[in-house]
């Protein structure tokens, strides 16, 4: 089974703090993604990566950065957390398929609260 793990299930931080959310997958997937989930808005893509040291902006990258130093690990960084970044953050990975739409496998999510 594909396993995607996230470092924390719940996190509480203060405004202005630097926040690291870690994601690790054990299936040797090339592709990794970070989403945030908010009520009524579904999942929105923040950043994604198709390879080590490679990153692409998603739909809502402002206020976030990412790091992919190793294939299995994809980190989301909030340089200076703000209250509007309070959300559920979901990491996903997918294999490098040829279909143009590979199934993504998700981690359990990190619920971040910024006070």
């Amino acid at each position: 089974d594909v396993k995607v793990t996230q470092s924390s299930r719940y996190l509480v931080k203060r405004t202005g703090e630097k926040v690291f959310l870690e994601c690790v997958q054990d299936m040797d997937h090339e592709n990794m993604f970070w989403y945030r989930q908010d009520p009524g808005l579904g999942l929105r893509l923040i950043y994604f990566s198709y390879d080590v040291k490679m990153k692409e902006k998603g739909d809502i990258p402002e206020g976030y950065s990412v790091s992919r130093e190793k294939k299995e690990r994809f980190s989301l960084i909030l340089e200076s957390a703000s209250t509007n970044q309070t959300s559920m953050y979901l990491c996903a990975s997918s294999p490098p398929g040829t279909s143009g739409a590979d199934t993504q496998y998700f981690g359990p999510g990190t619920r971040l609260t910024v006070l």
């Binding site: 299930r9 009524g40 808005l41 579904g42 999942l43 929105r44 893509l45 994604f48 998603g58 739909d59 559920m88 979901l90 996903a92 279909s99 143009g100 739409a101 199934t103 993504q104 496998y105 998700f106 981690g107 359990p108 999510g109 619920r111």
Partner: protein, 113 residues
């Protein structure tokens, strides 16, 4: 632009009832894929089904079935004889070939004992 609409924000049913979750999508591409995911209270999205735009056959998997109709741009999901364990948020998603996922807002299903 691509868009996915799940008009039902919340649905409540009593156990053993059948329930249909609606999904309507918009895309100009002819090649695309549709997905359904389940998010139980634990938070992790669980993959349920993937269907490409050239395959309009309906699919059944146990108590789950999916009805794909290109004519109405819909990909509806039916749970037959619902159970309490089916309580979750369900997401429909659209992927145009080589592009990123576009998720609908989700439908929260509550199955009451």
């Amino acid at each position: 632009a691509q868009k996915v609409t799940q008009a039902q924000t919340e649905i409540s049913v009593v156990e053993k009832e059948d329930v249909t979750l609606d999904c309507v999508y918009e895309t100009r591409d002819t090649t695309y894929y549709l997905f359904w995911y389940k998010q139980p209270p634990s938070g992790e999205l669980v993959f349920l089904i993937r269907r490409n735009s050239f395959d309009e056959q309906n699919e059944i998997s146990g108590r789950y079935s999916w009805n794909f109709q290109k004519s109405t741009s819909s990909f509806n999901f039916t749970i037959t004889a619902s159970q309490v364990v089916d309580s979750a948020v369900y997401f429909c998603a659209l992927v145009n070939y080589g592009q990123n996922f576009v998720f609908g807002p989700g439908t929260r299903l509550s199955v009451l004992p």
